[in-house]
Amino acid sequence: MTDPTLTPLAEIPEEKKAPQDDRWSTFLRDLASGTPLRTFLAIVVAFAVGAVLIIVTNEDFLAAVGYIFSRPSDAVSAAVTAVGDGYGALFRGSILNLQGDTFAQIVRPLTETLRLATPLIAAGLGIALSFRVGMFNIGGQGQLLFGAGFAAFVSFQVHLPFPLHLLLAIVVGILGAAAYGALVGFLKATTGANEVIVTIMLNYIAFYLISYLMRTPVLQDPSAGGTPKTVAPDVSAQLPPLLGGGFALHAGFILVIAATVLFWWLMERSTLGYRFRAVGLNPSAALSAGINVNRIYILAMALSAGFVGLAGVNQALGRTAGFTPTVDAGIGFDAITVALLGGSTAGGVFLAGLLFGAMKAGGPAMQVADVPPELLGVVQGVIVLLIAAPPLVRAIFRLPAPAAKIPRVRRRARAAEGTVSK
């Protein structure tokens, strides 16, 4: 006879694991199913918070507050003007410049938005991929630097005719970043090292390694002296401009559209994507289903870094001059917020990238209007904070909880059985 107590004992570890996996999956499902309405409301609230900040730091408003009881209209009008000026400048700088004389001047802000959104979308897709596999890739900065470094190396150390050279630089850049990402997956799979810490450390390692290489003949521009700076890419390796010389928008945007479609196909239609999602939803179940989870971790991190690497390639080849180790410009970290806002789906990340790109494009115009563009950092932060906490947005706007009914019924059923203690 078998010992009857053995069976439940053997099951305990499985049960223990369940809540964590379940929480991740709930979270991801929440993200993916994040209703457009909720996202929209989060954006509205964030811009409202931004408006408050504009108002309380506006000098005219602060002056008018001094005599608010005698003439309140002054304070109100100062506040409205300040917010209108600030957000008007943002619109003018990122979408349409209605003060422009020619058509080119009017639409130039929009093309700038697309150009600045390009690396954000690519890197956002990469981070989104890691989210879908239940991993947290904070190493965007390092992977982007690696992609840029490899692409830059090919772009001036190798000399080939136009389409071939560009293609080679792109592929090498992406592969370089992917190999770097695979290292993270490898360390997680073999030693169990936490990928959050590993990717953070690799950010610094990549930064100093690339800085070092930019001081050696491998990457350094001989005319740069002691400062780390790369040689400008050969013309044959530059991403060609899309709309002629008058606009800075280049073919990197086309690459990113292709990457978005590829991401969609990979995650929603391919077998590999199915395995990725299975591991993301429940690694132990995926393991039982015969999926080699460790291999998926390595592959997913490699692909994730590959997408981020595309952002690096875009930064390295979408210019006519060399670059310094600060080429990342915060994109690696912004990508995390882009992926969160986009719900880790292809379309969502694309739209989120456009929004954040617009904020980057509109910054200088806001500066001119005397509103610090750093405000947009706050707006971005508030947006993702609200997106990350669906219950909070629901509480602010008194929206109904989507799945509230089921647990309530269950609780009642359990209460009826008398199993609920409190």
């Binding site: 006879m1 010992d3 809540p19 964590q20 929480r23 991740w24 979270f27 900040l53 730091t57 947290f136 904070i138 360390l187 030693t191 169990g192 090292a193 936490n194 959050v196 810490i197 590993v198 953070i200 450390m201 690799l202 610094y204 390692i205 100093y208 390694l209 800085s211 070092y212 001081r215 780390p228 970290f333 912004d334 995390i336 917020t337 969160l340 610090p372 750093e374 405000l375 947009l376 950092g377 706050v378 707006v379 971005q380 932060g381 508030v382 993702v384 904070l385 990350a388 906490a389 219950p391 909070l392 609920v420 203690s421 409190k422």
Partner: protein, 424 residues
């Protein structure tokens, strides 16, 4: 039926596997040190400077031939590595003191090799390391407390930055360092409270809230820096620095006095907080409760501990400590606030938490290693060393990576860190 109960239980004795990782790492490091610092080392003399002219008791400078000393140290390190192999052969863990002594010898060897042909200012190396490590130590203490109660605190970076900002701002406008430090405590606590509310009440993934909070605090401080501080920096961002408070008599001791007893209040607070946090966590009833909440919240709940309340207040307290670290960044060091001045030190603190195995002493030691490496870069620049500065800067991160993947490996932290607790 009874036969089943009385059946003899066969204990299969499985031998504990030998863990070679530590020994291998120590062996490789000792060979590197022995060969490159010793055998291939520098024959010039490194002059060890113990004290500067202003010290009450001056010790004479000590010139040492770099290569000879490094050879001796290398032999000792080889012996320690052999000792660790002996431990491993006996299926025992390599003791921690051995690793720490080894690390200290390796660093001495590295410094003496780099300093060949010039001066080795001991006080500068030690005091500078402590000063640079201070914010990281505070941050890692916050991380240790948070993870011990089951909340992963990625927002240390944001807490440091918030603390740094308000410390500089409030000190400037009130002309009072006391108020500045109090404001830093509150600033760090506020960031922590948001983290706590979102992760405990709204059950949002703690890592995500942390990352988002960092972005938010960076945005807020950048905005207020641009909108308020930079317009009128004389009145809003000119706090000056905390005065050094020499402790009578003790500060006159050569070397030790200058390093430990002639510091700012933030550094003294650090010296007090590290053992205090350790004592509370591991030697008091409160600490036991905190750890229980982090290890097995259900069990803690069953014996009547309010899990979520404990987590909330612990994380808030941790935020205050991190805020203090922020104050150390501004008024405890350079004075004025600059954009994103925490520059990733919160993430380093997080690495120190894991490197230090969730123990305040070890985490502080890991933070000190980071401080030293930063300081070493300055020292190497002064001696005209040929090692590329970028590679020196990379070493601590590489060490952390190796440690997390190899030496620490599957070291298990608090079991419930990162998991919200929902009362059934």
């Amino acid at each position: 039926m009874t036969t089943v109960l009385t059946a003899p239980v066969v204990h299969t004795v499985t031998e504990v596997p030998r863990r070679w990782k530590t020994s291998i790492v120590l062996a490789v490091m000792s060979i590197v040190a022995f060969v490159s610092f010793g055998l291939l080392g520098d024959d010039r003399k490194a002059t060890v400077v113990w004290s500067d002219a202003s010290d009450a008791i001056a010790l004479p400078d000590l010139p040492v031939t770099s290569r000879v000393l490094c050879l001796v140290l290398g032999v000792v390190m080889l012996a320690l590595a052999a000792f660790s192999v002996w431990y491993t052969m006996g299926r025992r863990r390599v003791p921690l003191w051995l690793i720490i002594v080894f690390g200290a010898l390796f660093i001495t060897s590295l410094v003496m090799w780099t300093g060949a042909g010039s001066k080795v200012p001991v006080v500068f190396l030690l005091a500078g390391s402590i000063a640079l490590a201070t914010p990281v130590v505070f941050g890692s203490l916050a991380g240790v407390i948070g993870e011990r109660v089951g909340v992963v605190n990625i927002a240390i970076e944001g807490q440091l930055l918030a603390g740094a900002f308000v410390a500089a701002f409030v000190s400037s406008i009130t002309d009072s360092f006391t108020l500045g430090i109090i404001a830093a405590l509150i600033g760090g606590a506020l960031v922590s409270m948001v983290l706590a509310v979102f992760s405990i009440k709204y059950l949002v993934d703690q890592i995500i809230v942390g990352v988002v909070l960092n972005a938010l605090v960076i945005g807020l401080t950048n905005f207020f820096y641009a909108a308020v501080l930079s317009d009128n920096s004389r009145e809003t961002n000119f706090p000056g620095t905390l005065p050094a408070i020499p402790i009578p008599l003790l500060s006159d001791i050569p070397v030790i006095g200058s390093v430990f007893f002639d510091q700012r209040i933030t550094t003294y607070l650090m010296f007090i907080l590290v053992p205090l946090v350790w004592f509370i966590l591991f030697k008091t009833k409160i600490g036991l409760r905190l750890r229980a909440v982090g290890e097995h919240p259900l069990a803690a709940d069953t014996v009547g501990i309010n899990v979520n309340r404990t987590r909330f207040w612990s994380v808030t307290l941790a935020g205050m400590i991190a805020g203090l670290g922020g104050a150390a960044l501004t008024i405890g060091s350079v004075g004025a606030f600059t954009r994103e001045m925490s520059s990733g030190q919160g993430f380093i603190a997080l690495a120190c938490v894991i490197l230090g195995r969730w123990n305040p002493y070890l985490a502080a030691l890991a933070a000190l290693l980071f401080g030293f490496s930063k300081n070493f870069r300055i020292f190497a620049g002064q001696t005209g060393s040929t090692i590329p500065p970028d590679l020196i800067a990379m070493v601590p991160y590489l060490v952390t990576l190796v440690a997390v993947a190899g030496l620490v490996g599957r070291v298990v932290g608090p079991a419930s860190a990162g998991k919200p607790y929902v009362k059934q």
